[in-house]
């Protein structure tokens, strides 16, 4: 063999030694793990316990509920109450009176006169008397928009307030006195407070109900948007609903908005 051939043969052996086949690698691993079974056991136990822990936390409340279901409700220690019949009867009479009076008080909370419920999630309005529905219809409520000026100095939130409000005033042929945001939103310069540009006629419908804090129930030119949240906080009604509600509610009537 020439020296060149010998060198090639040695290189071939080295390459063969470096590249072991896959079955040989797995055999080597198997040998290694079989030599350290305790580590293997530790690893398996760790993952198994972790899985049990996650499942237990996930179903903890239900598992405890099953235990409560299995536990009987009766068969309990007895409470001894030192009473005589006269005392109990007197107490019963007082309790019955108290419960009846509270029941009447709770029943009287539902207004007997007309009131309005406005659903701002689905933009629906319901005129009620007691528990009876008098009229239902669509409305538009706040658009949940937050208008910010470029310098972030001013901010307006267009949301219809929730809770119980009362009708403060009833207006015929209302005129809209435009606030600053109405100009800022359109990219227009804001006029002075008493400028005639601030007053818009015939945009709020034939009637309006003032709920206080700048919020009104009024009509609209944009009837096609009824049922959608598009307003700047006020409640817009269609012509028919507005007429019915205006004529049925009085000053002081309750308006519930949710």
């Amino acid at each position: 063999m020439t020296e060149e051939q010998k060198e090639q043969e040695n290189q071939g052996d080295a390459v063969a030694a470096e590249t072991e086949t896959l079955p040989e690698i797995s055999q080597a691993l198997k040998r290694q793990t079989n030599e350290h079974p305790y580590w293997r056991a530790f690893g398996c136990a760790f993952w198994f316990v972790a899985l049990i822990a996650v499942l237990t936390v996930w179903f903890a409340d239900r598992l405890r509920d099953y235990l409560f279901t299995a536990q009987p409700v009766n068969g309990a220690p007895v409470l001894m109450i030192p009473q005589n019949a006269m005392q109990i009867e007197k107490e019963l009479r007082n309790l019955q009176k108290q419960v009846a009076s509270q029941k009447r008080r709770l029943q009287n909370l539902t207004p007997r006169e007309m009131y309005l419920i406005i659903n701002s999630s689905e933009n629906r309005v319901t005129l009620m008397r007691g528990n009876k529905v008098i009229h239902e219809g669509l409305c538009s409520t706040g658009s949940y928009t937050v208008l910010k000026t470029a310098d972030n100095k001013e901010k307006w939130v267009f949301q219809t307030p929730r809770g119980m409000l009362r009708v403060q005033n009833k207006i015929v042929k209302p005129v809209w006195r435009m606030p600053d945001w109405a100009f800022i939103e359109e990219g227009l310069p804001v006029p002075s407070k008493n400028s005639s540009e601030r007053f818009e006629f015939n945009v709020l419908g034939d009637y309006a109900l003032d709920l206080g804090r700048g919020y009104l129930i009024h009509g609209t030119l944009y009837q096609r948007f009824l049922g959608m949240p598009v307003t700047h906080g006020c409640v817009r009604l269609g012509d028919e609903e507005l007429k019915i509600i205006y004529h049925n509610l009085t000053i002081g009537s309750k308006v519930f908005i949710y």
């Binding site: 409560f68 539902t110 959608m228």
Partner: protein, 272 residues
């Protein structure tokens, strides 16, 4: 390579594995399941009523009638407690939940006026309530409304949109978009009240493909919070709390309307 092949290595390995499994699992079950159950069961031990020690003038028949009167008195006291809680809620200016498990009814009210109500098609309530109803503390429990502490939902509670004021009318015109009707959203929410009462509401309608990811995120956030609570309890060497779960299945629109109507720290009147 078989996963449990190490068990063939010898008895010592098998015992080692068994001990590693047994003690942690025992600890987990005891700490998370058994001990809180025993603690809660002890606090809500049911009680009965029995007349006082008899004197020589008392006869057996009088004792049974006194027993009946005591039971009527207990019912009246519970009714009184519920009414007091409701009257307390009517003094608030905010909307509150009203859940009646006897009628499967979920409602929102303000000042005692029902704004919206919905019947649950499927209802699950923790059996702890059954035990609580028979315990001595039930009157005190019913007399005080529950107050929300934390909530999770698969939809936004307040869907605010930020709009930057346009510089001029041209930009304002360009910003105007066609107003679209709001899309239906998949509704799942949970509210945790004080005294560990958990109100969960899920929609009757099937989950949509679009709503799958928000629903997964919501459930993951809730479960993670639960896990955090257990870990915190472990660190403070306390028992993890048991949530008294009330699971309601309601129409999607009702869940969205009710959840958006109530404030973050809303109150709840629970009748059971």
């Amino acid at each position: 390579m078989k996963p449990f092949s190490f068990l063939k290595a010898g008895r010592g390995v098998r015992w080692f594995f068994a001990i590693l499994l047994f003690f942690p699992i025992l600890f987990i079950f005891s700490y998370i399941i058994i001990l809180p159950f025993l603690n809660l069961a002890q606090k809500n031990r049911p009680v009965g009523v029995e007349p006082a020690v008899h004197d020589s003038l008392t006869v057996q028949s009088e004792n049974s009638s006194v027993r009946k009167q005591l039971l009527v008195r207990r019912d009246l006291k519970l009714e009184d407690a519920k009414q007091r809680a409701q009257i307390q809620l009517t003094r608030l200016d905010s909307i509150y939940f009203f859940i009646d498990l006897n009628d499967s009814l979920a409602a929102i009210k303000i000042k005692g006026v029902t704004l919206r109500k919905s019947k649950s098609s499927r209802i699950y309530s923790s059996p702890v309530l059954r035990h609580l109803k028979q315990s001595a503390k039930v009157e005190e429990w019913l007399a005080k409304p529950l107050v929300a502490q934390q909530s999770w939902s698969s939809f936004v509670k307040h869907p605010f949109k930020i709009k930057n004021a346009p510089k001029d009318t041209l930009e304002a015109l360009a910003m105007k978009v066609e107003i679209m009707a709001p899309e239906p959203i998949d509704a799942y929410c949970s509210i945790l009240f004080d005294r560990n009462v958990l109100l969960r509401m899920r929609q009757i309608e099937k989950l949509s493909i679009k709503g799958a990811w928000p629903a997964v995120k919501y459930e993951a956030a809730f479960r993670f919070s639960r896990l955090k609570g257990i870990v915190n309890a472990l660190i403070l060497l306390q028992l993890p709390p048991h949530y008294i779960t009330i699971d309601l299945t309601l129409p999607q629109a009702d869940i969205v309307a009710m959840y958006r109507a109530v404030p973050y720290s809303c109150s709840m009147m629970l009748l059971f």
